[in-house]
């Protein structure tokens, strides 16, 4: 029986661009380029490796986002995913993590899955809670923050490197997995992959298709509210000295003046 893998990815603003907030205190997507979240590339990579190791597997890449989010799907398809699902609806604008996880869970169920994989966090919001929320909503085990992952005989195993300990984990499928940037270098799309991606199916879904009311998502349906966003004041220019043999001592003088020594 075919192993159905769904990779949840996010289209995020380029961190090297000038990211800021729009008037409604959501992310301003106009002035900055978007791309597939780097941390999700690791999830695509592990999905492809798990699929390669299985007798028969299909990798579907899923995103919730605006029209441009198709770019993130194309990138994942060009890496080797088989097909894509794009949940796109104007009413989704400004959804918080609770709303987004609801949409993802419904879309994953609609797609059909044995294994859901995502990155450890998005590179914009960096909350890192979507995988846990998905597992909660889907009612399946969470096997998260893995630096190593494998699937065999309907069982997922992996290593979770935490602050105080390293844990070996195991769960039966279906399950939700998230992987860290230690899970293995993500492949670059080949020219052949990029050409093939253009012919791969991208299915579009909206809130009606998923049976979700508009008031459950979007800015108005959010369970959190951002009241203000202020740009952090630029740091006042610091003292810069050139080392001419005494740089370490000068620095010690500064640290002593600040009472660190």
């Amino acid at each position: 029986m075919s192993l159905r893998i769904v990779v949840c990815v996010k289209y995020v603003p380029d961190a090297t661009g000038d990211r800021h907030f729009a008037d409604d205190l959501t992310l301003d997507r106009e002035d900055v380029d978007g791309l597939l979240s780097e941390l999700d590339e690791y999830a695509v990579e592990q999905a492809l490796q798990i699929a390669d190791a299985a007798d028969d597997a299909e990798v579907t890449v899923l995103t919730v986002g605006p029209e441009d989010a198709k770019d993130a799907l194309r990138k994942a398809l060009s890496m080797g995913a088989d097909r894509a699902v794009h949940v796109e609806d104007d009413d989704l604008h400004g959804s918080d993590v609770i709303g987004t996880s609801l949409v993802l869970a419904k879309a994953v169920e609609e797609t059909g899955y044995d294994l859901v994989i995502s990155g450890m966090a998005s590179t914009d919001g960096t909350m890192g809670v979507v995988p846990a929320l998905l597992a909660e909503r889907l009612g399946v085990p969470q096997v998260t923050l893995l630096s190593q992952v494998s699937v065999e005989g309907g069982v997922v195993r992996g290593r979770r490197d935490g602050d105080s300990a390293s844990e070996e984990l195991e769960a039966s499928l279906p399950a939700v997995v998230s992987v860290t940037d230690q899970s293995g270098e993500a492949r670059y799309p080949s020219f052949k992959g990029i050409m093939a991606a253009k012919k791969k199916p991208v299915k579009s879904l909206d809130l009606d298709d998923l049976g979700i009311d508009a008031d459950e998502v979007g800015l108005a349906g959010s369970w959190t509210a951002v009241d203000s966003a202020a740009e952090r004041p630029a740091r006042t220019a610091g003292t810069i000295v050139k080392d001419e043999g005494e740089g370490g001592k000068q620095l010690a003088g500064f640290l002593a003046g600040q009472k660190f020594i």
């Binding site: 205190l25 609770i98 969470q142 951002v226 952090r232 010690a252 660190f260």
Partner: protein
Amino acid sequence: MAEVLVYVDHVDGAVRKPTLELLTLARRIGEPVAVALGNGAADTAAALAEHGAVRVLTADAPEFADYLVVPKVDALQAAYDAVSPAAVLLPSSAEAKEIAARLAVRIGSGIITDAVDLEAGDQGPVATQSAFAASFTTKSRVSKGVPVITVKPNSAAVEAAPAAGAVEALTVSFSEQATGTKVLSRTPRESTGRPELTEAAIVVSGGRGVNGAENFAVIEALADSLGAAVGASRAAVDAGWYPHTNQVGQTGKSVSPQLYIASGISGAIQHRAGMQTSKTIVAVNKDSEAPIFDLVDYGVVGDLFDVVPQLTEEINTRKG
């Protein structure tokens, strides 16, 4: 006064510092009721009472150690049902954030993660957060349900505020999902004797310029002279010179110490995301054009292998 649930991060009964900071913040909103789970849970009571916990709810069962995350969610939910709190606060560790998220969706509440400050507001607690690699500061609140908020280490000073800290056993019935993910083995991280990276008051980091695993001894020596934690940039970690657990940046840990010393680190946006909120920033780098110098309070343009050992020696001499 309303009660506020505080999830306790502890290792075999030893309460970690971010939880004590959390108790300080919780007192701005109400009366802290601490929830300690797992091996040594009851041993946390003295430290929690000293820092303001009016009650300490404890539970231990093999499930907490043998299965991932969900047993703790079940227990925190039991505490939530028993207390009817005004807010639920947790430290921003990877595990506690996952616990927070699952609890939030279960109790129909919004969630805020990685707050760097917290205050009482007319419409409930107001959380300050850093956004976009700490280039923005936002104020947010939970608008539905009982606020579930996770707070980053070093967001408040630990203050003693003795309270009753009465220990009460918490009754937990585990959900069907609780045993879904088995922990087959657990290998504790070997202690370096240095402070935990995210909790340290001073962090000394090395990057590409350190140029080799063995050269990190120079960084470690400086760290030890200051009683600091050691950090590393992604370039240094990817090169295999230092463990990933010490990585500072967007894909590693985010730190906010009183003093951050960057050596041989250029200051790419990914690194800045993890350290930009440090109170005082110092850098040593050969390249005077390195972007890290835009952030510093004090910078030395020079070879770190000249500057850092001289600094270490000078500190050790002054400590005398």
